[in-house]
């Protein structure tokens, strides 16, 4: 359980994070979303105790981060942005050092380190120096460092940045797997990632929380009108007639003209009407050839853009 109450962080006169409050229950996977410089890392740094807030309160599993920093930090495994590692240590030495820093009992240390190394798939490289590893492996080592000591909460700052697609899927699967036993907070600016992994999203913009909700609810919240994208070959510009023929169409808008002479239109209609059948038959009657037709879905991306723009106005 993490509770953040009215936390503000100021640097001189600039406000990095302003009056944010939220709470995270056990077992949730939370995505912290926002454009660059929105305050994601600042928020995470405050949670982990790396920096101190100017005002407000943070409690981790009931421990106030300012009054009981040791206890609070003990609950958290943190993977910082840019995966800083001690490059003169081997993977095993690094994870062992992290275990020592987290006061893992001396007797159990060896086993726990091995367990984490296996869990993160680092067994073959455990005796290599961390500086000689590829980016993907470095990410895993950092993850192993966060995992060791069995923290209840994992805080991952941009866990998939700089990885190739295969590595991204691997790390995502690892996070999903870990989510079964941990509370996870991850920051990202990749929306598809968040909607795939997380069951709750916190959107931050300009240091303020814009929305806290499930990815699905956020998508519904900014439901666009019923829209259809069609790409057509229409040399005689007959599309103007279409609007009269199908009453449900509210608006037809030219999106772009392609080099091959086709045009893409956005057709807007009333809600709850599926135009596709009618469009297909009417277009055929008018001798307009349809090259492509697709329904415009609202995605988290749209929700995100809309919420962020709302904040900027």
């Amino acid at each position: 359980m993490i509770e953040v109450k009215n936390v503000t962080k100021k640097y001189g006169k600039t406000v990095a994070v302003e009056d944010i409050s939220f709470s995270i229950n056990d077992g949730e996977i939370i995505g912290l979303l926002g454009p660059n410089g929105a305050g994601k890392s600042t928020t995470m740094n405050i949670l982990t105790g790396y920096i101190e807030q100017t005002s407000g309160e943070v409690t981790i599993e009931g421990y106030n981060t300012l009054k009981k920093p040791k206890k609070a930090k003990q609950q958290i495994g943190y993977m910082p942005e840019g995966v800083p590692l001690y490059t003169d240590l081997t993977v095993k030495e690094f994870v062992t050092y992290m275990a020592e820093l987290k006061h893992v009992d001396r007797k159990a240390r060896k086993d726990k380190v091995q367990k984490v190394i296996e869990q993160t798939g680092l067994k073959e490289v455990q005796n290599k120096l961390t500086r000689n590893l590829s980016r993907g492996y470095k990410q895993r080592v950092s993850m192993a460092g966060a995992l060791v000591g069995e923290p209840k909460i994992l805080i991952l700052d941009e866990p998939t940045v700089g990885l190739d697609p295969k590595q991204i899927t691997e790390i995502r699967n690892l996070i999903k797997e870990l989510g079964k036993t941990h509370t996870i907070i991850l920051s990202s600016h990749i929306l598809s990632e968040v909607s795939q992994i997380c069951n709750k999203v916190i959107i931050i913009n300009k240091g303020k929380i814009v929305a806290i909700d499930t990815p699905e609810n956020l998508e519904n919240r900014v439901n666009k009108n019923n829209c259809l994208y069609v790409t057509v070959e229409d040399t005689e510009n007959k599309i103007a007639n279409i609007k009269d023929k199908i009453k449900e169409i509210k608006n037809i808008e030219l999106v772009q003209e392609n080099e091959d002479g086709t045009k893409q239109y956005l057709i807007e209609a009333d809600k709850n009407v599926d135009l596709r059948k009618k469009v297909f038959s009417e277009f055929a009657k008018e001798n307009i050839t349809i090259f492509e037709m697709k329904k415009a879905d609202t995605t988290l991306e749209d929700a995100f853009m809309k919420l962020i723009e709302g904040g900027n106005k």
């Binding site: 920096i51 040791k70 930090k73 943190y78 001690y86 240590l89 020592e100 820093l101 987290k102 006061h103």
Partner: protein
């Protein structure tokens, strides 16, 4: 805290830093052993340490300049500061491991005592008192080096600040007698005569504690302004 001492100590020998420090010190120490003692057929082991203190003044930054600055630059500071260990323990851990390197160096210098014993009878107590004084001097140097390293993320800047400060305090007494006791290296000069000067000892220890405390404060302070 011991985890940090262990790791830092190991790091000194995983990188060339530890070898460079000990090696450089011993090479120069050997030269002074020849010119100051052996050449005059003297058995005053402690005499070499006047020059030893000068060497130390110039090479302490090798040990200290990267301690805090490097962690900050590479971001590993985040790992340290978010682990359940207090800043005081982090600073102390680094201080102790650097001090251990000096202790090892001192143990190495003891071979010259052996060589002198072969030719005559050097005074053991005086030698030990000198080594104690040298250690105290090294501790205050290291603590200042840590402080310098904590205020910048550039190792070179940290090193230059450290040497600059040492040289400044070294020559301060030349300007006015008021500054006599401000010179760390001057405080050491009584030890090779075989007497433990309480005032000097207390000054060294206080200076060391002060620098360590300041380092802790600098690190703590950065939490709220970072």
């Amino acid at each position: 805290m011991w985890a940090i001492v262990k790791k830092e100590f190991k790091s000194y020998f995983l990188s060339p830093v530890g070898y460079v420090f000990i090696g450089l010190f011993l090479v120069m120490f050997s030269i002074f052993f020849y010119t100051d003692v052996f050449y005059y057929q003297s058995t005053n082991f402690e005499y070499i340490f006047y020059s030893g203190a000068t060497i130390l003044t110039f090479i302490t930054p090798i040990l200290t300049m990267r301690t805090m600055a490097e962690e900050r630059k590479s971001g590993t500071e985040q790992l340290l500061l978010t682990s359940p260990i207090s800043i005081t323990k982090i600073v102390l851990g680094k201080f102790i491991s650097a001090t251990l390197i000096v202790v090892i160096t001192e143990l190495c210098t003891f071979m010259y005592f052996g060589i002198l014993s072969f030719f005559g009878a050097p005074h053991l107590t005086t030698a030990l008192v000198t080594l104690l004084g040298f250690l105290l001097l090294a501790m205050s140097y290291i603590s200042f080096g840590l402080l310098a390293s904590s205020i910048t993320e550039n190792q070179i800047v940290a090193g230059v600040i450290t040497i600059g400060f040492f040289i400044l305090t070294w020559f301060l007494p030349n300007f006015s007698d008021v500054f006599t006791d401000f010179s760390l290296i001057n405080l050491f000069t009584n030890f090779p005569s075989g007497q433990i000067d309480i005032a000097d000892t207390v000054t060294f220890v206080t200076f060391t504690i002060m620098c360590i405390l300041l380092t802790v404060i600098v690190m703590q302070r950065r939490k709220s302004v970072r």
